[in-house]
């Protein structure tokens, strides 16, 4: 199998010393094993994220994403763009779709980007994809399974998909309400998926974790509770915002509600790296505030 190559949009949270830097570490390790080459978009900028709307209107947000699209095309013409962050994926894809549908928006965007010396040319055929799509659609469970050298035996993992990896686009063939791909992936890696986990698409509050912490933490509490109720030892997610929200507020929730949550929240890429035989560092396990001990043990084997 030849090397798979993609134009890559890592997103702000993946930078060094940011909230999802360990995600990035594990993605790199995972891709190495899978022989996937990621061509980082040169000088990419923020997607505007889902909270950018208030001050930045539709056009400024679109301009930001169009800038990335143009830079990607210039650097890696014809390649699909892959994002690891749900918001990045969603923002870019949404903007790309609108540019294809709304001529005024397109022209305004072109005009704006000229100011930055960028010529935006709309490529309707351009695919903007999430890393999970690449794994499932391009590589497939079988091939992923073939790389597993340290099956994650006996680890019960709840697949928390969250919102934006799942809606409104989602992974082809999966349901918005009960996507199963994380469970299938967990199974492929030799772990035990908690299939009945019933909060897999519950919103963690997203950016409102900052501005409306109480409301968001009520959501996170539901997500954690169900994982415990169904016997999960670990939560896995494809989204940096989900990962952070579900992981870092556990102590605050415990304080507020008298609960005793302490459950590791990992990225799928961390699971894969470990299952593929990578060590704890390669899997970015040092980046987990709540240590994924079981993974560390397997990685150390």
């Amino acid at each position: 199998m030849a090397t798979r190559e993609y134009s890559f949009y890592p997103g702000c949270s993946s930078e060094k010393k940011t909230s999802a830097s360990n995600y990035m570490v594990s993605v790199e390790s995972m891709c190495k094993t899978l022989d996937v080459k990621l061509n980082e978009i040169p000088d990419w900028n923020c997607c505007g994220a889902s909270i950018g709307y208030a001050e930045g209107g539709e056009l400024p947000r679109t301009v930001m994403n169009a800038r990335n699209l143009a830079l990607a095309e210039e650097d890696s013409p014809g390649q699909d763009i892959v994002a690891t962050c749900a918001a990045c994926w969603l923002g870019t894809r949404e903007s790309h779709e609108r540019l294809g549908k709304d001529e005024t928006l397109l022209n305004d965007t072109i005009e704006s980007l000229k100011e930055a010396g960028i010529n935006y040319e709309h490529k309707p055929e351009k695919n903007i994809r999430h890393m999970a799509e690449v794994l499932i659609e391009d590589i497939g469970y079988d091939e992923i399974g073939s790389h597993v050298s340290k099956p994650l035996e006996g680890v019960k993992i709840a697949g928390y998909v969250g919102c934006q990896t799942n809606r409104p686009f989602g992974i082809h063939g999966e349901s918005y309400e009960n996507p199963k791909y994380l469970d299938k992936l967990v199974e492929t890696l030799g772990a035990d998926p908690v299939e009945d986990y019933d909060q897999k698409v519950t919103c963690c509050g997203g950016a409102l974790a900052f501005s409306e912490p109480e409301k968001s933490q009520n959501q996170i509490k539901k997500i954690l509770e169900s994982a415990y109720d169904f016997g999960a030892e670990m939560i896995v997610t494809p989204c940096p915002v989900c990962q952070m929200n579900v992981e870092v507020y556990q102590d605050q929730i415990n304080k507020a509600h008298g609960t005793k949550f302490h459950i590791p929240v990992t990225y799928y890429s961390q699971l894969m790296t470990v299952a593929f035989g990578g060590n704890a560092k390669e899997a970015g396990l040092n980046g987990n505030i709540i240590k994924a001990k079981k993974l560390e043990e397997i990685a150390a084997k």
């Binding site: 994220a49 400024p60 305004d108 100011e115 997203g206 605050q252 980046g287």
Partner: protein, 203 residues
């Protein structure tokens, strides 16, 4: 459109305004009042007026109540409403659009934390091209003044410490340039975009 536009009840004045000025606003007319969006919102309890009701209020001409509402600011962008809406209304976007419109008109509730956070966020990325998480958090904590900021920052110190310890927060973030290389190009493009939008929407 001024802040004091006159609208008649159950006439299309305000609806038309929304259609023209608000992102995806031309979908509002298609709502059939089933309420699935209202029931699907994860922060539903916090909505004084759920989306479907906002759509009815728009049709009823309740301009001030809609634009002054903090309901839209409760949107977490979870997209539940969008995928469940039987009429395929892009409700998330309409909520964002209404919030943006209200904010730009100065009618949005001043104290709403999400509105303020969103502004800080945008300023953060529009300046440097990328999120500086430390600046963003501090900006958020200190938006109500120094004293409150210290309090909030203290409350969040464990979270920050956790991130620090695991290498997921840059303690030097405040002092680092960071961001993209072509900041000025991006800033110019965004300035232009803003200008075009202001002209088109008559802000």
């Amino acid at each position: 459109m001024s802040n004091t536009a006159m609208v008649k009840k159950y006439r299309n004045d305000f609806l038309r305004e929304v259609e023209e000025k608000v992102e995806e606003g031309d979908w509002v007319r298609m709502c059939m009042q089933c309420g699935v969006c209202a029931g699907s919102c994860p922060l539903g309890d916090a909505w004084e007026h759920p989306p479907q009701e906002i759509f009815m209020m728009i049709r009823a001409g309740k301009r001030e109540e809609v634009l002054g509402s903090d309901s839209m600011w409760m949107c977490t962008s979870c997209y539940n409403c969008i995928v469940r809406c039987p009429r395929e209304l892009p409700i998330t976007h309409i909520m964002h659009g209404l919030a943006n419109y209200a904010h730009r008109l100065g009618l949005a509730p001043k104290a709403n934390p999400t509105r303020r956070f969103a502004k800080i966020f945008w300023d953060n990325i529009a300046t440097s091209g990328r999120v500086n998480e430390l600046k963003l958090s501090l900006g958020l904590y200190f938006m109500d003044g120094f004293g409150n900021g210290i309090k909030k920052a203290l409350a969040m110190k464990d979270v920050g410490l956790g991130l620090l310890k695991t290498g997921r927060l840059d303690p030097m973030g405040l002092f680092k340039a960071g961001g993209i290389k072509d900041k000025s190009g991006l800033q110019k493009a965004l300035k232009k975009a803003r200008e075009i939008e202001d002209t088109r929407k008559g802000y």
